[in-house]
């Protein structure tokens, strides 16, 4: 069964003089355990699509169903809670609270979820170890490299035990070595723990390693390829 179902999704930005059809009729299903890359030229609508899947932006038309919930019918307060409980986010930058350590950042999400202190500290350490940066648990983001920060971000995204992780260009600020390492880590999470990833990227090396590649042009899906193994 699909955990994400996008139906006839449209987004028109009309605050400007010329209305922009950022997303123009997208249908998409994502199954549990998929590792999906959304690719396409700049301005094609990747971020807009991911924001609507993540419940950050409202579609002009169409709907997003996550595990039987039509998320855009939720009241904004419920939406925030839905995000907190179901979706892990990784952004290109500014992911972490700069004044909290890596461990505190990961634990903070669980605190919002009202997980007990003991459990969240334990799980935060475990996740940091799994994402390969257990030794940096007490560092603040500013003292970590870009790649290390993104690992913490993935750990933070995983902390809430989400249905899937949504990542908008998670490697855009990383050098090729860090990109490869982060991708290895994500793929391993995907393989070992069946974590569903859906992310956008420009990077051909990232695209090459994705299981499924959905290409968007002008707000529409132009191709959707799943690698055969």
């Amino acid at each position: 069964m699909a955990i994400i179902e996008v139906k006839n999704l449209h987004k028109i930005y009309d605050e400007t003089n010329v209305p922009v059809k950022a997303v123009n009729g997208i249908d998409l299903k994502v199954e549990k355990g998929e590792f999906t890359a959304i690719v396409g030229p700049s301005g094609s609508g990747k971020t807009t699509l991911l924001n609507m899947i993540g419940g950050l932006d409202k579609p002009t038309k169409g709907e997003v169903v996550i595990n039987d919930t039509k998320i855009h019918d939720l009241k904004s307060k419920d939406m925030i809670n839905f995000r907190l409980m179901n979706i892990g986010f990784v952004f290109q930058a500014y992911n972490l609270i700069p004044v909290l350590t890596a461990k505190e950042n990961v634990a903070f999400i669980m605190e919002l979820q009202k997980v007990s202190r003991k459990d969240r500290n334990q799980r935060a350490m475990e996740l940091l170890r799994n994402t390969g940066i257990g030794d940096k648990a007490n560092y603040r983001p500013g003292d970590l490299s870009g790649g290390q920060q993104q690992r913490v971000s993935v750990a933070r995204a995983l902390a809430s035990k989400p249905q899937f992780i949504l990542a908008d260009e998670p490697t855009a600020n990383l050098d090729s070595k860090s990109t490869a390492d982060l991708l290895d880590m994500m793929l391993e999470m995907n393989r070992e723990s069946e974590i569903t990833f859906i992310f956008s990227t420009h990077d051909q090396r990232v695209i090459d390693r994705a299981w499924r590649v959905v290409t968007i042009e002008d707000g529409k899906i132009s191709s959707d390829k799943t690698r055969e193994n």
């Binding site: 950050l56 307060k77 952004f91 500014y94 609270i97 004044v99 999400i109 605190e111």
Partner: protein
């Protein structure tokens, strides 16, 4: 909530210098305001206390209409019932009866107008400590037949202790008043005007001189707590009825009142300026702290943090910035004010002269009114809350998508 507070606290120290500058500006403004106001209010209390205990008292009772032309004809009878009526009012510390008028004082070829004050020597000593102004000779005994003369007046009349002078005047209802009085002592006041014209004698002698037995021109009243002045005045008015006029020092010494009001207005303007500085200091910092973190806020909301938590976080940040300066300012200001409360500043030069004109001792003891410290705190808290309106509105209107795109 604890984590939110922790984040807020740490956020403040992300830009240490900015936070320190803002805190320091609040600190100095609060310190200045506290010390300045404490000094100002203390000086007013001192001026009033000195002025009233020098002569008028906080309150005087006269026959209705006396104050207008201060005629010896406008006297009232000193009955026990009047005195009892006044003393029955709580919070009255002393009541001094006086009969005052004018007379020509002469000795040999020298003659000069003078103010003759008949009083109860014992009560007067308790009230104005007139006995301490005697620099030569002795203070009056009760029912004394002698007089005390201001130092400049004595100089003019070429007299010293043991000599006599003659007083001429018009007494009660036009009778001739005249008498010869031995000088018991010489008075020296800080106020030169008083030195030039004052003559004190016992009440009984003055009543005899002016042909007004058992009559008074005034009862001068001291009260325990100057803050209760208005209440006491209206109580006495009610008790005594409209045959009498009850006046407070503000009516009797309007120049002093005006002096205080003018000075106080200046102080309030200064305070307002300081407060505006504090306000904009806090506001500017809190504005920057909001604007520069748009992306951070956007991510925090995206991952599932409710806006109320962000608002709480910014509230802590704003309050800490405001209160840190206030608290340190108050802590620093308190001992300064306390010190000068018990060790008043002694003035010299023109300021001292000006104060002496009002019979005020030229010192400034600082006020230690706790209400004053509290008020300062409340004002800064209110301003901090006003500054908080910016991040509040900013966060309420905050849009995650726009925040991320910027």
């Amino acid at each position: 909530m604890l984590t939110i507070f922790k984040i807020a606290w740490r956020n403040l120290w992300r830009n240490k210098r900015r936070t320190l500058i803002t805190t320091a500006s609040v600190f100095f403004a609060v310190l200045l305001a506290l010390v300045m106001r404490s000094m100002q209010l203390g000086s007013y209390d001192n001026m009033v206390k000195n002025a009233v205990s020098f002569y008028t008292g906080y309150i005087q009772v006269h026959k209705a209409g006396y104050w207008e032309d201060k005629s010896i004809n406008e006297t009232f009878e000193y009955t026990k019932s009047v005195e009892d009526e006044i003393k029955s009012e709580a919070g009255i510390s002393s009541v001094t009866p006086r009969l005052e008028s004018f007379a020509l004082a002469s000795s040999g070829n020298y003659t000069k107008g003078s103010a003759v004050i008949g009083t109860d020597p014992k009560k007067e000593a308790e009230f104005t400590q007139l006995n301490k102004n005697v620099t030569q000779g002795e203070y009056l005994k009760s029912r004394d037949k002698g007089i005390l003369v201001g130092s400049k007046l004595a100089e003019y009349l070429r007299i010293k202790v043991g000599d006599s002078i003659v007083l001429y005047s018009q007494g009660y209802h036009g009778i001739t008043a005249a008498g010869e009085y031995p000088v018991r002592g010489i008075l020296d006041f800080p106020n030169p005007e008083m030195n030039k014209q004052t003559i004190y004698m016992s009440l009984s002698e003055a009543q005899y001189l002016f042909g007004a037995p058992n009559m008074l021109t005034s009862l001068a009243i001291m009260i325990d707590d100057p803050a209760e002045l208005n209440e006491k005045v209206s109580d006495l008015k009610n008790k005594l009825g409209d045959q009498y006029e009850v006046m407070d020092w503000k009516e009797m010494m309007p120049e002093l009142m005006q002096e205080i009001q003018a000075d106080n207005a200046g102080g309030i303007v200064m305070l307002a300026i300081l407060y505006v500085i504090i306000f904009f200091g806090i506001l500017g910092t809190i504005m920057m702290m909001s604007m520069e973190r748009k992306k951070e806020f956007a991510v925090m909301i995206a991952v599932g943090m409710r806006k109320v938590k962000l608002i709480a976080m910014m509230f802590f940040e704003t309050i800490i910035i405001g209160l840190l300066g206030v608290i340190i300012g108050a802590i620093a200001g308190f001992p300064i004010n306390l010190y000068f409360h018990f060790n008043p500043i002694h003035l010299s030069g023109r300021a001292a002269e000006a104060m002496e004109q009002f019979n005020v001792e030229p010192i400034i003891p600082f006020s230690m009114d706790p209400a004053y410290f509290l008020n300062q705190g409340i004002v800064v808290v209110i301003m901090t809350l006003m500054a908080f309106i910016f991040p509040l509105v900013f966060l309420i209107r905050f849009n995650v998508i726009k925040g991320m795109r910027n």
